[in-house]
Amino acid sequence: MSLARAWGALLRRDVMLALRQRGQLANPLLFFVMVVALFPLGMNPDPVLLRSIAPGVIWVGALLAAMLALESMFRSDFDDGALEQMLLTPYPLPLLVLAKVTAHWLVTGVPLLLVAPLLALLLNLEGEAVVILLASLALGTPLLSLIGAIGVALTVGLRRGGVLLSLLVLPLYVPVLIFAAGAVGNAQAGMAVTGQLAFLGALLALAVALAPLATAAALRISLD
């Protein structure tokens, strides 16, 4: 099988497997909605206040939801041995990792994008800011999946890796949060957002190039 076909087959397989367990897919999404809905309850539901905290709240919620969804990336393949088979195939492991990460993003990142406008509505975010929020999520969520994959690959062999995973991954998410929430905040204030979005794009390009290599190295170590 050619590399391109193998890549496509792996992508399709992962998406299909995920779609057969819709319940698991919905959980991080519900978590995202609930976390964001808690903020107005914990604070003052004043529209002006909500609007000013909206970019940060939505993005922190997206960060945590993405992290909850991370664990499933390699878990079942690790448990049933499919991951070891992937290591044994003649195809380069970083590219296979990229296929798995892409599949993971399609089933966990894209849904976040779809519910984000609803959350924007809850927090009184309007107009151009919603568009920029979607743009920042479109650039930022694949980054979360790519960076997170390294952490998952390092902890996949551990029985209780969940909390450790957040400890490893959250500090690395800081730049994404800063640029993405900054872009939405700027859009609200009517300022230029190209700088932040360009940074997110640059980080995404860097992560696509480097993160699969680190993930592949980490998987080889975890499966040793």
């Binding site: 390294i150 450790l164 400890l167 800063i178 170590i221």
Partner: protein, 251 residues
Amino acid sequence: MWAWLHRLGSPKRFYGWSGALARWAGWGSLLLGVAGLYYALFASPPDYQQGESVRIMYVHVPAAWLSMFIYMNIAFASLISLVWRMKVADMFAAASAPIGAWFTFLALVTGSLWGKPMWGTWWIWDARLTSELILLFLYLGYIGLLSAIEERDTAARAAAVLALVGVVNIPIIHYSVEWWSTLHQGATVTKFEKPSIAWTMLRPLLLMALASTLFYIMVALRLARAELLRREADSTWVRELIDGHQGGGNR
């Protein structure tokens, strides 16, 4: 050259030379530290703006410098251990991590103690403070991963990958945080005019920085040596070493 380096890095050789180095670093750290503290506490003038609290800087600056220096060391040792599979580099990286985390913590605490009289608050979300805090998180993640994996060799290699990922991210985090803080607040409190530092103040600063670095080298080497003995407990050279010690004691 490479063969020579490899021989220096073999566990037995390393155990031989690191003991002497650790001892010298320890004495050097003590001497320079005493001299540095003398100059810092007695023989340097209070700052005309900061008063006596400038003396906190003589601990704070070396701690902050070491917090970054040690992370770089960990990353470098990790690279060596991943590429050349040098066990000793692993152990040095693992031994460095807790020391680095403590120095980062010390830098944060002393910075906060200094900030209270200077800025009137224990904590502000200044770019450097925030970067230092995230660096502490990176250290804690590294230590967490290292202690979570039972198999020592696997743990060391996994942590090495994490250290390299972290070192690629540090500049990105640093600049994003810097950019963020300049966006959020004017840099009025944090950036007072930095006068070119006077020799009487530079002297204790340099002495303290050297003393702390030597202290780090001593502790890291000692920890690495202890770990080395633990992991190589079954090898012949460790047995011979222990037999030699016991033989010497009986005589």
